[in-house]
Point group: none
Chain length 143, copies 4
């Protein structure tokens, strides 16, 4: 696979929601972006709060911004807060540097896009992203 299609994005989100149901998580919002950071698919489950679309998208953008999952940004926010603050600035406030933004790669290591999930704990959000990406037979990079 060379490009994320809408159909693959549907597979990813369906599997992420299945994982969330299995873990009995709070309502989630999930964004799947292409390699250029543009939305392919976004779903907000009933009861997920109003700014969740921006948070989910911000996690996915954060991962694409630095070329690895947002777990890396979360660690940097503690060790080098000035760097993460600056990223907020240069991105026009577009990134959310906590776990749950996961890169989607193919077998050759090429980045096809990113998944961002929000609604439960950051660790649980990330677990659902990983489950979704695996269901599409693609490779997750959590950072």
């Amino acid at each position: 696979m060379r490009k994320l299609t809408l159909s693959t994005a549907e597979t990813i989100i369906s599997a992420a929601f299945e994982k969330a149901a299995e873990l009995n998580l709070k309502p989630l919002t999930v964004a799947v972006l292409d390699a250029g950071g543009h939305a392919i698919l976004l779903k907000r489950q009933d009861g997920s709060s109003i700014m969740r679309p921006q948070i989910a998208t911000g996690k996915a953008i954060g991962a694409l911004a630095v070329g690895t999952g947002t777990r890396w940004l979360n660690a940097n926010a503690e060790s080098r807060p000035h760097f993460v603050n600056a990223l907020n600035g240069v991105s026009g406030g577009a990134i959310v540097p906590v776990p749950g933004g996961v890169l989607v790669k193919n077998d050759e290591g090429e980045t096809l896009g990113a998944v961002g999930i929000t609604g439960d704990t950051s660790d649980n959000d990330e677990a659902c992203a990983v489950a979704g990406i695996a269901a599409a037979s693609l490779v997750a990079d959590c950072g």
Copy 2:
């Protein structure tokens, strides 16, 4: 129905895509927003260009902003361009005042949300929104 659910939004977009296939339209992007203007579901078909998510969302926001479909805004853009320019300003550049932003109402006339579609001609975009809303047994207000 009192609130648009994710499941209803899925019905709307599936029917809009069916209509588009029937009419042999270009790839579309469709946004379904709740009554407060927050995304419930957004789908960008393969080949739909990168700023389509913002355009689709901007049509739906435009309809919610003034309480009727964006066909009304499109007419005002000719008769009162300074009003539509001002709406762009006070909304922070969030509205797209051309047909294809359609309010979703229930039988009692209550606004439940809006659908915004972009990718083909504005008239065709709007026709798909209307088909989607009808498939969910809800009422379309095109403006």
Copy 3:
């Protein structure tokens, strides 16, 4: 009177709503700002659409911006559109140059604030603002 109080603003909006009921208008949103352009009181009637608070505020700001009611800005939008466009720019997109933004003055001609109304036709919006200001024994300047 030297300053608009919250209590006077309440008088203005109540009388504006009474006028609207008398004329059988659509649901309105009304903003009363002080002389510095800061909100004292804002009311959105049930069924008034979601961007009406910004539109009402933008009319009131527009009146304060140029020192007369927005009927003057509306005329200028036709005769000198580049001026009104520029005002949009320098105000950061804050003004709405159509009738319904009315200055509130005292008997000495001092500006105490402005009222902005939106929801029906611009002429009807303005008539309600005038009725509200009269009920507070203050002087309306429509532009």
Copy 4:
């Protein structure tokens, strides 16, 4: 109750102001927003400073953004400052993450809107929001 009406918002603010008078607090500004984050009613008491409308609104938006009162955001600002900074970014600078932003829910736990209060200490601001919501026989979620 399914939707906050202007009349219910009036009840909330009147009771909040009564509580403030009882506690002898400084002049307050109170915003009541609907579930989508759009103003229904905003009142600034005489003597309340000029940016209070934005602060009150920002508290209410903050609560709606994450689906619980801003006391939760205030705690997160200490434990995960990068998350709260990011929320500021993705919201376009719209949130104020200190106590005094309180969700308004009905008996079934559905979010109908939010109240934001500012002017005294954050704890006192919040106490007035809680009193206002109780007076409307609705349920407060402080976070």
